[in-house]
């Protein structure tokens, strides 16, 4: 499968909204690759996703640097949920925690693109942007998920 931009339907119509501001660039500009946006404290090196205004360790202002998280990671823990979520996601669906070693971060994420039971610890996955539901105004909510690494 080519880059996951393929999974994003008509991104510039204004009928779509990111699940939360600042997590990723959306809509993507032509040729842009989706990436999660975090930041890092330049004093202690600790990184954060979502971004933090102040490093809780150093508590010095003006030292946070924006970073882009790597797209591929490894599943740390997972489960398959058999009840629909109040956020409007139909069961069954899989989610868990994905380790991103280069960023030294672990992120919570839904899994997509394969049988829910196939996402087990150690599995390699990559980030995609996908619709996750509809908001109160009828707009499609775009979130990030992880799918098996192709090939």
């Amino acid at each position: 499968m080519p880059e996951s931009t393929k999974t994003i339907p008509s991104a510039r119509t204004g009928s779509e909204v990111p699940v939360q501001a600042g997590l990723f660039n959306y809509p993507l500009t032509d040729g842009g690759r989706p990436a999660l946006k975090g930041n890092r404290c330049s004093l202690c090196g600790k990184s954060f996703f979502p971004k933090r205004a102040v490093c809780p360790e150093c508590f010095v202002s003006g030292v946070m640097e924006d970073i882009e998280l790597e797209r591929q990671g490894v599943i740390y823990a997972s489960t398959v949920v058999r009840v629909s979520s109040p956020a409007g996601i139909k069961a069954p669906y899989a989610y868990g925690y994905v380790d991103l070693p280069a960023s030294r971060l672990r992120v919570f994420a839904l899994f997509t693109g394969a049988d829910p039971g196939s996402f087990v610890p150690g599995g390699k996955v990559e980030m995609v942007l996908e619709p996750i539901g509809t908001d109160a105004e009828g707009k499609t909510v775009i979130g990030y998920k992880f799918r098996p690494v192709s090939g």
Partner: protein, 386 residues
Amino acid sequence: MTLMRDVYIIGAGMTQFGKHLERSLRDLGREACLLAIQDAGVTPKEIEAGYCGNALAPAIQGETGVGQNVFWEVGICGIPIVNMENACASGSTALREGWMAVAGGFYDAVMIVGVEKAVMPKGTMLNVGAGELETKLGEVFPGYFAAIAQKHMERFGTTREQMAQVSVKNHIHGSLNPYAQFQKKFTVEDVLNSPMIADPLTLYSCCPNSDGAAALILCSKEKARRANGKAIRIAASVLTTGTYENQRDITNWDVEIRAAQQAYKMASLGPEDLNVVEVHDAFTICEIIHYEGLGLCPLGEGGRLIEEGATELGGKIPVNPSGGLLSKGHPVGASGVAQVVEIVWHLRGQAGGRQVQGARVGLADMMGGNKEGDTRACTVHILVKE
């Protein structure tokens, strides 16, 4: 610390937990408060401050200021009253605040109430934490604990059968508790074959949403002398929060390990001194991890502890003789108070058919809320019969 006074529980009471569809928060809270007042043999005018634990009334009933409403039902007014919200640890946080106030010499007698109406229409789920990113992305409570269970299984070889045994044990205990929501026993097969909620947690691996209330009266040593030997000393009261360490090991809660160590130090006791324990078994895996966090067994051996029968009534260290959240029910803001009511009854020898014989030291452990894969609040209380 050395300036603190000893604090005693002289009154304890609770409603039956379960579905109380026709009853209000005030009605449930009043029943629990009246029982505690009668038990203590005090008058409402002797209460100098009130602390109310409630987590969900603003979200479910659209009601705020529940503490003032409930305390006024029993004639308590004109004194400091505080509403406490700390998720599942709301009630135990209220207890902790009341304990601090008496220990610090501010008051000689205070009242704690935990009250909740959390029963939801069939097929709906509590929509709490809706502002959290994880919830917006699709996380549900059972799923978080299921992922923890998966990791515990992978790392320590904990089995589905061991987790199911927690539910079986707690329902046996609950069948002996007239205050419990469920009076029905299950087999390991029943638990494993009930509908899957989030793998590996099945329906009977999850606690229900419940209605109910529980209340306590705390006082100074001088006032406790009037209680005819019924007073139980609070030997330790600890509240702490998570560290939200991003890449922490999710097979245990360091917040709980820290809270337990602080509590043992404060009480000058250790896990080997405990006779009866109540823990936050919102899901079966939680109880197994609490065994480890409280030091009832080494890390990773919680599954073995339940399998050996050590934590059932008659075992080495009975855990959740009340039936726990799984069987007694979980009216969120009331549960932390009800745990301590149960321990008080055991230490006084008033626990009926589920009595732990000769119990002198008990512990109650409560956790509340998830944040970034960690726990928001954890309380540990140790009670001693002198």
